[in-house]
């Protein structure tokens, strides 16, 4: 092992004294490192790319030099610049005979391009050849590249060889072959499905590494179809048992845990296999219990295993004893000081409450602490937990909290998510209609443009249809309260347009329904809205919202909802006027309304024009006509749409009889046919261009060639829809939405493509039915819990207590208790008791934690077992338990490194001369780097090494630092030759990453 330790460094240093690269490259890296701004960095890289472009095109560049140029290209692209001109050179280098060049070529290609790239075609052949190589290292390199570069279409070319390699004598090759096959399976399950039995075989491989790798594909396979792998339950349990009993070689140990990564993978698999299967779960309890018993809560990896165990237990058939153990570990997590463990604890709790909701009560204060933690990650995780434990009793508190948090975040993605969760919870558990409307208003006000447009439609429908079987009075009361709240809100600036549309619609339908507001008042408000939004970009917003959402589901919706806010406003005005006329009142047109109508009738949008003209036409109608055109409160009435336009049949018949030519569906017309034939021609071309994966030099093997070609022709046809440009898809989309879309199937090529499209997009279609069902269920719950009046009072108390909390920090615990009571408990007394109890435990917990801290003392153990590793100064930043030096905080030391001035206090033990010298050294190096290594390199290295020593803290044992000191000296010396100095703007570059 020692050998291995140093050989890397030696090799890395290379024989030329530097890091093995030329001066040019080192200079580049250095100048990038010293660049003061992004612009400067960009300039340097741009210059470098120009240079590389010239050099790479030069045919006389030696191959070894080429390798370096390629690495520089990788470097440039890593920094975010486009180096696509050099990709072809990377591809060329994979053809090289020598392994180092080939390996670099593969590395670069795998970094530059992925399987979708055109150049992949040029690499496939090389990969294929290399997979047959005698040198296992070449095979390894090819397999690694294959994982990245082989897409579905190239798969048949390499598949047979990869399968062969599963039986390769070298375990490294077998392992990579398993992973490659796994990757192929992920890309295209159908091409590899006949080979999955190989994974079962590899599970029994002699090498634990191969076995461990095999668990990855098996996990995926089992996820898809657990039932066909039930026979392996006992094997998995046995393997897990053996691993936990340390039967694997100790080289698989990680921080004294036996093969933890394999354990975790096995636990994941068992979780799937045991889900809902009592018998299979029965096999697992013993080994899971063992793992819990042996669990090590002092190390990260031990906790990772325990967490996975909890996941497994919460997924398999429940067992009271196991659940108890899981709950115990969860509470350990939650009581921990480490944010990481708290986070895992919250997650674990979320899993356990699905089985036993009572578990959460014990931890209510811990949960609330996490909820109020400044760490966003923890907070969000806690919201996830709250979302899972929402009931009708605590929905108000939770949703209020969520909205409060939602208002203050800028992260669009999460805002969308939490908004949709608020909506979902509100729809599901709303205690009262009043509350529901208010909540929805808040959500729309702050995240209206992020919420799915369906939610807006739901809300409108809800207001229109009322809430189930309740009497009309309640419904109209609800409507007037909605109108009230909207009239209040509507004047506010910057309301999301979807919200404005709801407002317009509701005001139009119900604004004057109860007679409290005059028509002209409402019309005035609506005119204001329309005026403010004449330059609105609702269309853009709409498309922005809808674009990421599944296209099929929303395409129809999309067309119907691309409406300007003005359109909503003018229609609302129209309705109000209509209702007024119907009531027989006299309408006097407001001047602002008149200007609006005039403006809109000259609008670019024909839709707006039409609405404006409709309004004008309506004004001229009498009461009776208006009533039939615009019946009052008829939004819920179904409008029958005859999609086949059957009422025109007679007319069509008559026309045909009188000699008109019959209608030919669009798809059967000549133009489309020519497009179709063009497409099939294109398709033909693609197949002509298809890869020939078989080598040319074997004429005798005609049969395999033929079969390979046959198998190739299938994927190429499949390929076509993939490469098809986007507008075709849209084209099909429209034709699919037409009832006559079936007739498209007449043309073969088109049908094939359509299949492809359907397959790709088919699934989301079914999702459209869910919202309606959810609303109906929500209506049901609303009806059920309508009488529940206590909810609003509790929210009031919460709000008031929240206000007091802001003023006084001392009442925090009382506030928390209240929050806990409202979140967790139903009856106040019970919650109070609980809160007190848990407060007790909270008080006790610091003590117990202290005890564990003193008990743990991990540093000496660590040093004993891994003497090679220096004391963990940086390693354990995140683990408060195992910090070795109680006096010196490693972090402050580290920070101290940044500025030389603050570094001096840390250097308390080093001679004073050093600390006084440091600034001098700095000046030396900042003045002139190239003064020559003779005078510069001896003293400074000494100074630096002592600096380094001081960084290690007082606990660093000198003898242990022996080799590293040498390393450090060597490294520093090299660095100086290059011209990078530790006194530069970033001395941290020299800091050991691993303590």
């Amino acid at each position: 092992m020692e050998q291995l330790r140093t050989i890397g460094r030696e090799l890395a240093m290379g024989s030329q004294g530097g890091w093995g690269q030329s001066k040019e490259f080192l200079d580049l890296v250095k100048s990038i490192g010293e660049a003061r701004s992004k612009a400067e960095e960009d300039r340097i890289i741009a210059r470098e790319l120009e240079h590389l472009k010239r050099r790479l095109a030069d045919p006389d560049v030696p191959r070894r030099k080429m390798k370096e140029l390629l690495l520089r290209l990788v470097y440039a692209e890593m920094l975010g610049h486009d180096a696509s001109f050099g990709h072809i050179h990377a591809v060329k280098m994979t053809h090289d005979e020598s392994l180092p060049l080939k390996r670099t070529g593969y590395l670069a290609v795998a970094l530059f391009i992925d399987e979708r790239h055109d150049l992949v075609i040029l690499v496939v052949n090389t990969i294929q050849k290399d997979l047959r190589s005698d040198n296992y290292l070449v095979v390894c390199a090819a397999l690694t590249a294959a994982c990245r570069l082989i897409g579905e279409e190239a798969m048949p070319a390499v598949l047979p060889q990869v399968v062969e390699l599963l039986a390769h004598p070298k375990e490294a090759v077998r392992k990579k072959a398993v992973m490659a096959l796994h990757r192929f399976y992920q890309r295209s399950p159908s091409s590899v499905s006949h080979l999955v039995s190989n994974f079962r075989k590899r599970l029994c491989d002699n090498d634990p590494g191969v076995m461990g790798a095999t668990l990855c594909p098996l996990y995926d396979l089992i996820l898809e179809d657990p039932s066909s792998y039930k026979d392996l339950v006992v094997s998995f349990v046995n393997i897990l048992k053996q691993v936990a009993e340390r039967r694997l070689p100790t080289s698989y140990d990680y921080h004294q845990m036996p093969a933890p990564f394999i354990q975790i993978k096995l636990l994941k698999i068992l979780a799937v296999l045991g889900s809902g299967d009592k018998q299979a779960s029965g096999h697992m309890y013993t080994v899971l219990g063992d793992i819990f018993r042996k669990g090590d809560t002092t190390s990260n990896i031990g906790n990772a295993i325990l967490y996975e165990c909890i996941c497994c237990i919460s997924s398999i058939f429940p067992n009271p004893k196991m659940l108890e153990a899981a709950a115990e570990t969860t509470s350990k997590f939650l009581k921990s000081d480490s944010h990481n463990l708290k986070y895992m604890g919250i997650d674990a709790l979320g899993r356990l409450i699905k089985i036993n909701p009572d578990i959460a009560e014990e931890h209510q204060l811990a949960v609330i602490d996490c909820l109020e933690d400044p760490d966003d990650t923890l907070k969000r995780k806690t919201f996830e937990l709250l979302y899972k434990m929402t009931k009708s009793t605590n929905v108000e508190v939770i949703v209020d909290r969520m909205i409060e948090y939602m208002i203050n975040i800028t992260d669009h993605h999460y805002k969308t998510e939490i908004a949709s969760r608020c909506v979902e919870l509100a729809e599901q558990f709303a205690p009262s209609n009043q509350w529901f409307i208010q909540t929805m208003n808040k959500v729309f006000e702050h995240a209206g443009d992020l919420v799915n447009i369906k939610v807006a439609h739901n809300l409108m429908r809800l207001i229109a249809e009322g809430f189930g079987e309740d009497d009309e009075g309640a419904d109209s009361q609800l409507r007037s309260s909605a109108v009230d709240s909207y009239l209040r809100i509507v004047g506010e600036p910057k309301l999301p347009s979807s919200f404005l549309q709801i407002i317009c619609w509701v005001l139009g339908e119900y604004g004057t329904a109860d007679g409290r507001y005059s028509a002209s008042y409402i019309i005035g408000k609506l005119c204001d809205v329309a005026e403010a939004h004449l330059t609105d970009d609702t269309v853009k917003v709409c498309s922005h919202i809808l674009a990421p959402i599944s296209f099929v589901t929303y395409f129809g919706l999309f067309l119907s909802c691309v409406l300007y806010t003005e359109a909503y406003a003018i229609s609302a005005i129209l309705k109000i006027i209509a209702f007024e006329i119907a009531r027989g009142r006299k309408i006097d047109m407001l001047p602002e309304c008149q200007t609006l109508v005039d403006e809109l009738s000259a609008s670019h949008s024909t839709d707006l024009q039409q609405r404006a003209y409709e309004l004008q036409a309506l004004l001229g109608l009498d009461k009776h006509a208006v009533e039939s055109v615009m019946p009052s409160d008829a939004s819920c009435e179904d409008i029958e749409v005859d999609r086949n336009l059957s009422f025109l049949n007679g007319f069509v018949q008559q026309a045909l009889e009188s000699g008109a030519s019959p209608y030919i569906p669009e798809s059967e017309r000549s133009g489309v046919i020519s497009v179709g034939s063009y497409r099939s021609q294109e398709q033909h071309e693609t197949s002509a261009h298809a890869l020939r994966f078989e080598a040319y030099e074997l004429p005798k093997a005609s049969l395999p060639v033929a079969t390979a070609q046959a198998s190739m022709s299938m994927p190429t046809t499949d390929l076509v829809p993939v490469s098809e440009p986007g507008y075709y898809k849209e084209d099909h989309q429209t034709s699919r939405s037409q009832p006559s879309g079936d007739s498209l199937s007449g043309e073969f090529g088109v049908k094939l493509r359509l299949d492809g499209v359907q397959k790709k997009w088919g699934r989301p279609t079914y999702s459209s039915s869910t919202p309606s069902s959810s609303t109906s269920s929500q209506q049901a719950t609303n009806g059920g819990s309508h009488s529940d009046g206590g909810g609003s009072t509790s929210s009031h108390t919460r709000e008031s207590s929240y206000g007091s909390k802001r003023q006084q920090g001392t009442e925090v615990s009382a506030e928390k208790q209240k929050l806990a009571a409202s979140l967790f408990g139903s009856s106040a007394a019970k919650a109070d008791r609980k809160a007190q109890a848990s407060r007790k435990t909270a008080k006790e917990s610091p003590l117990s934690e202290k005890a564990t801290v003193t008990n743990a003392t991990p540093p000496p153990i660590k040093e004993q077992l891994t003497p090679a590793a220096p004391p963990p100064d940086l390693l354990d930043l995140g683990e408060p338990v195992s910090s070795s030096a109680p006096s010196a905080d490693p972090f402050s030391q580290l920070e101290g490194l940044l500025g030389p001035a603050s570094a001096t206090p840390v250097v308390s033990e080093t001679p004073a001369t050093v600390s006084s010298q440091t600034p001098d050294l700095m000046s030396i190096f900042s003045d002139d780097v190239q003064t020559g290594p003779s005078s510069g390199s001896t003293e400074p290295t000494l100074g630096d090494s002592s600096l380094k020593n001081s960084q290690k803290g007082a606990t660093a044992v000198a003898s242990k630092k022996g080799p590293s000191l040498q390393d450090a000296l060597q490294k520093d010396a090299t660095a100086r030759q290059v011209g990078v100095t530790p006194t530069g703007n970033n001395p941290n570059l020299f800091k050991d990453l691993l303590g």
Binding site: F261, Y307, Y343, Y414, I549, S964, A975
Partner: protein, 197 residues
């Protein structure tokens, strides 16, 4: 119930965009809803400089830059006491700071974050053994070595080998071949250099 997200991320449809993947937020409630996959590995310095990037799900260059910008802003902003996980676009980024270098891995939100944290550490330990007290400078100048080692630790977004010795053995075996070839080449280039002088 198979993750459509992970699949679409891998599928050669060309639609595997960041936004596309992130828009259909996976159901975090269902445990089996997701495959577990590392989507990318990112090494950034405290100053936000990129030291290494490896993408296991396809991202276009433009997206990559965006991702790097977003993730580094998120990660560098976090305090020392906060947890080592952060939500990003419906995924979870697990990060850990070593000296002045942040190691980040992006995983599916249903995966085991603590395990990923240890995979990062596993990688760093291997780097440490290979370079002998690895420091950031080693990774700057030998980023290709860091890539080679990463290729032995992770493959296609999954942990490939948890045995440090096995990884080091393989990397060293490759290096010895590189070294042999290097000597050969340098002697050759010396001859050429002398001949051309």
């Amino acid at each position: 119930m198979i993750s459509t997200k992970a699949l679409s991320g891998c599928a050669a449809t060309g639609r595997a965009e960041v936004a596309g993947g992130a828009s259909d937020v996976p159901d975090p409630v269902g445990i089996f809803a997701e495959r577990t996959l590392i989507h990318f590995v990112l090494l950034i310095s405290r100053q936000g400089k990129v030291r290494l990037t490896k993408w296991y799900t396809p991202y276009q260059q433009k997206q990559r830059n965006k991702v790097i910008k977003e993730v580094s802003a998120l990660v560098l902003d976090r305090g020392p006491k906060m947890c080592n996980f952060v939500d990003w676009q419906g995924y979870r980024v697990v990060y850990k700071r070593y000296a002045s270098l942040y190691f980040c891995m992006c995983i599916d939100p249903t995966d085991n974050e603590l395990e990923t944290l240890q995979i990062i550490h596993h990688y760093v330990e291997i780097l440490d053994r290979y370079f002998g007290n690895v420091c950031e400078l080693d990774l700057i100048f030998n980023f290709h070595k860091a890539y080679f080692i990463l290729d032995e630790v992770l493959i296609a977004g999954e942990l490939q080998e948890s045995n440090k010795k096995a990884v080091l053995r393989l990397v060293t075996a490759q290096d010895t071949m590189v070294e042999a070839a290097k000597e050969e080449a340098s002697s050759l280039s010396n001859i050429i250099a002398q001949a051309t002088k």
